[in-house]
Symmetry: C2
Subunit: 327 residues, 2 copies
Amino acid sequence: MELAVKDILATIQPTLLLVEDKLREGVDEMFLPLGQGLLNLLDSGGKRLRPALVIFASRFHPGAPLDRVISLAASVETLHTATLVHDDLIDGATLRRGRRTLNAAWPAAATVLAGDYLFARAAKFAAETENTRVVTIFAETLMTICEGELYQLFGAYHLDQDLESYYRRIFSKTASLFAASTEAGATLSGADAATIQALREYGKNLGMSFQIQDDLLDIVGDERRLGKPTGSDLRQGIVTLPVYYFLHHYPQERERLEQALQAEPAERDRVIAKIVEDIRSSPAVEDCRREAGQFAERARQALAPLPDIEEKRYLLALVTALLDRDV
Amino acid sequence: MELAVKDILATIQPTLLLVEDKLREGVDEMFLPLGQGLLNLLDSGGKRLRPALVIFASRFHPGAPLDRVISLAASVETLHTATLVHDDLIDGATLRRGRRTLNAAWPAAATVLAGDYLFARAAKFAAETENTRVVTIFAETLMTICEGELYQLFGAYHLDQDLESYYRRIFSKTASLFAASTEAGATLSGADAATIQALREYGKNLGMSFQIQDDLLDIVGDERRLGKPTGSDLRQGIVTLPVYYFLHHYPQERERLEQALQAEPAERDRVIAKIVEDIRSSPAVEDCRREAGQFAERARQALAPLPDIEEKRYLLALVTALLDRDV
């Protein structure tokens, strides 16, 4: 039986609801525009995948007090939200999940500060775990994310990026926080080093698989379901895996793409929409599915040494469900 | 005998040098532009007041391992640096301490990310203290700083701000981190609650006094010595204490100021330079000196219950030295 993502999350729904409460804790006492901005962000319908990873990973060893697991789950989700706030500002994105982004409604300066505030709030939640190893994981992950984004920023518009830099980038951007979620969840439970390492490996590979699927959906997905236009990375000159494989199969297309990126916006968007169409019907799609599947398999294998508890089954099901998603 | 700031810091110079090493730890392994940017920021000559507060405050009780004190000192200085990076970006400042700011050299997006990276690095140093109370102080202080900046941003260009909002603003902006430095330093040493509270009060009031003096120097200071033009807050419509008292004494000047703030930049700068001249020769200067002196006195009184150790004398001397500074 194959479970959908929502079925898997439903098994921990009561705990996830406590995380929702935690995410909104103290919002009433915040400076009004900030509190409203935060509520808007929280209501915009993230799946709460990272909190779910924390919760599942914390259950391979008895001993994580529930309130600390909740704090950790809220910490990773708040950190994720903070990075999205700054990412959307940097990318000039005006839509996410079909809603206006914070930077679309607020001045840039206020958006910078709101993101900073959320980083601080995430750090506070991390400190509530009373576990400095968890705080260290938190801080190192944020450093990895920022360094990766800077790398991307200074490296954008270079179409000759290799697979290795693509993988390094999606590790920084996505897999590092998935890995931190499972590692910190397991750490908080007092699990042994091998269990922590296995869950970290699972999270990391799940994150890689997830991001490849995300990058593929940015090309082949349904714009209405995604809540944003397709080809958004490409328009910023960021080479994702589908583009990499497309250029690999059709090296002569590089010139058309290079010219499009240097053209004025209307012309650029027209040509890139055409290239997105071409990628959709190219073998690059199958290449990406294969690679996403390989990381998924590594995620499953990482769990092999762990005891066959219910949570393990859900984590395994999550690998498949995320691979099969269309949004 | 009155000691200058540099004489007071000289008494802990060996420890401050260890903090300098810590601030530069791992820079070689960073993504190159980021590492160079950080070195530039660190070399631009901050006084390291906040690290000094951590070090002095940690010595009222035996028991703070030196490496953790160093980590905490590096954490508060890195947090301070991170807030400056984002502040300068938000304010569009191109000079600080006579050097080009990061945002003057880098694109806005990269500056946002560099600041985020420094927040994460500061959190990592805080976690190295292995004290979650210290991490909580760290996180709550950053929240206070951001909330204060947002408050200022949404409230800028309102000339009718009262004294209470001015004090709230300089607490958020400056005194909160001074208070956090002394509180966390004392916490790390294992001092009792009364000692921690006394040192926090000292830090808070020292910070208030320091910021009033800073705001006064922005009006009466020497541009060459400050390394930036005077009247910079006023040009952004931010009412500091000298302006508040000037308008208090000369309410008829409000209209001239309001018109200047709405004028085009050249005209605005010309009129504001004239207003700055007028404030310099007004009773507002003495009003500010009086208020800075009152907070300084509260800082001294906060230390009264503490034992008469050498560090106490330096902290008392620091109050006077910061009040008397001209840069």
